[in-house]
């Protein structure tokens, strides 16, 4: 019994020492800036490598990985899932919430009819097209309309 108590005490002490050591090192860990120090051009596919040669602080991935190429834009969910703090240095949350939100008043492509260069979903006559696209890949609908932002879907699908 005494041996168990001793082991638990030793483990607790080691754990505490580890936590204290970790806390002492926290101050040395780098921070990403709250916002990008330079204004970036609107409507241009950003190439981070134009200015940044090194790896970014904080997440340590190469800046080049975040160049806004067509491949990046189409697959941005993979990057946002682990690096949304990097996204937020340039984009306000509302930029994402133009499409990914809990409730919308209008299609994003209607709200931004003056910005056809933005990759907005559901352009044109999506009322017809969704009857095909929804069966093709329901998971792609679910990501935005599964548990929120589906008031309009439920008008017919109930």
């Amino acid at each position: 019994m005494n041996q168990i108590k001793l082991t638990i005490s030793a483990l607790a002490s080691a754990g505490l020492a580890l936590v204290l050591a970790a806390c002492a090192q926290m101050g040395a860990l780098p921070n990403l800036p709250a916002s990008h120090p330079e204004a970036l051009a609107i409507g241009q596919q950003i190439n981070c490598a134009e200015c940044h040669e090194d790896q970014q602080k904080g997440t340590l991935k190469p800046y080049k990985a975040f160049n806004h190429s067509p491949v990046f834009v189409k697959n941005h969910r993979f990057y946002a899932a682990s690096d949304d703090r990097l996204c937020s240095t340039c984009h306000k949350s509302s930029f994402c919430n133009d499409c990914h939100t809990n409730k919308v008043q209008m299609k994003p492509s209607t709200k931004y009819g003056n910005r056809p260069d933005r990759e907005m979903q559901h352009r044109g006559n999506f009322m017809t097209m969704h009857k095909i696209e929804g069966k093709l890949d329901p998971a792609s609908c679910y990501r935005c309309h599964g548990r929120a932002n589906n008031e309009r879907c439920i008008q017919c699908h109930h």
Binding site: A28, S69, V71, R85, Q105, M106, K135, A139
Partner: protein, 442 residues
Amino acid sequence: MKKVWCTLLCAVSFAAASSSALAADISVDTSTLLGIGQRDVSGTKKETLLPATQFLGVDVDKLADGNLSLHIYGWGRADLADKSYNSQKADGSLTYGYLQYRFKEANANARLGRMFIHEGIVNEQIDGLSVRTDLPAGFGVSAFGGAVVHDNNKQHLYGESSDGKGDTIAGGRATYRYLGMLELGLSGVFEAKAPALVSHKSGNHRLVGGDLYFSPHKMVALMGQSSYNPETKAVAEHSYLLTVKPFEPLIVSAEFNEHRTGSYLSSSPLFSNMPHFNPTDRSRTIGGSASYQASKNIGLAADYKHYSRTLGNADRYGADARLSFSDNSIRGGLGYHYLRASQGFAISPYISASYHELRGYLMHDTKGYFAALDAIGYLFKEKIYNERIAWEGTVSLGYHLTPALALSGDVSYGRNPEFTEETKGLIRLTYNMTFEGKGEKK
């Protein structure tokens, strides 16, 4: 609606007061949109539609010791003529509204309020608290908890008194990263028991999973995630993307996605009541793409994707080009895609779901005016509701009244299988301004 706007106005007042007292920076983004339309459905009276929508975003930085900030975004709509949508002449939503404290080290922050959470496999909206920090030796941790954001519209689910979601939610993510080449994440979400529904099926929303970023060489990166549903005791999702950059302007990618219907979609009453919902089904997509930046002005991309479900198989392929001239003030794009899809994906009672898609746009921005033309068209292999083509064209014209204030208007016209003709108009007033306090300039 009233509640939403009271919350927004209170928060804005609080922010303005705090700003003057503490030399904070305030950024305001507003868009006022007035839609113009007419609805003429046979058997009912003709209706005039004038929905006025106000989007409002406010960000107040450098509060208190300079590390505290407030972020609010939402919208409200009032119908100035007949009801434009559902049974309400006014509607609104608070998209997010939270206080954030950013610590000076370790990318640590704490958020309190309504917010979105993106952590590995977790994508949620909560009213609650979230915290995150990097830890020594490459580790990191985040956690969140609070109330689920419900849809308060009583008509949300037909014949039900709830939206099918539990009331509380919690989760988090733990990460380990090694240099710039590896990041491993473990994440999970646990929502309280889903309420029983009268005529809909719904499951508890609980998932655990892992995510990966692996870049053994600067030219190659593999990233993705897998999740498991402990309620159904089965895998919910595998999604992976491989990118290869053999030389600077060329990027090639391959992706694999698999979703098990019974585990991935089961916590949504909307999806689990769809006529094609089959809990044993599995949807899989495999594809690839390549993009080539031929010059600073010309970007080319091509993509292919294969879809497979119990319903059948389909292939989509095509290409896009993006052009920019005159220091990016003139921009344009062209795209073509073809979907070859079997009868299982067709709109009943037709036998083909295949179609060609064509899109083109052109924009011109100056310090004074800005203009855009946009056109999209679908050519169906088999006529749908006796129509071979669906198309829509939009013309947008605007003027910068001041550097922060712009007025623009859109007119769109189209023909499609749903409507013989569809004409829409929109007037848009946008205002984006940052008021800087005495603090250091961003």
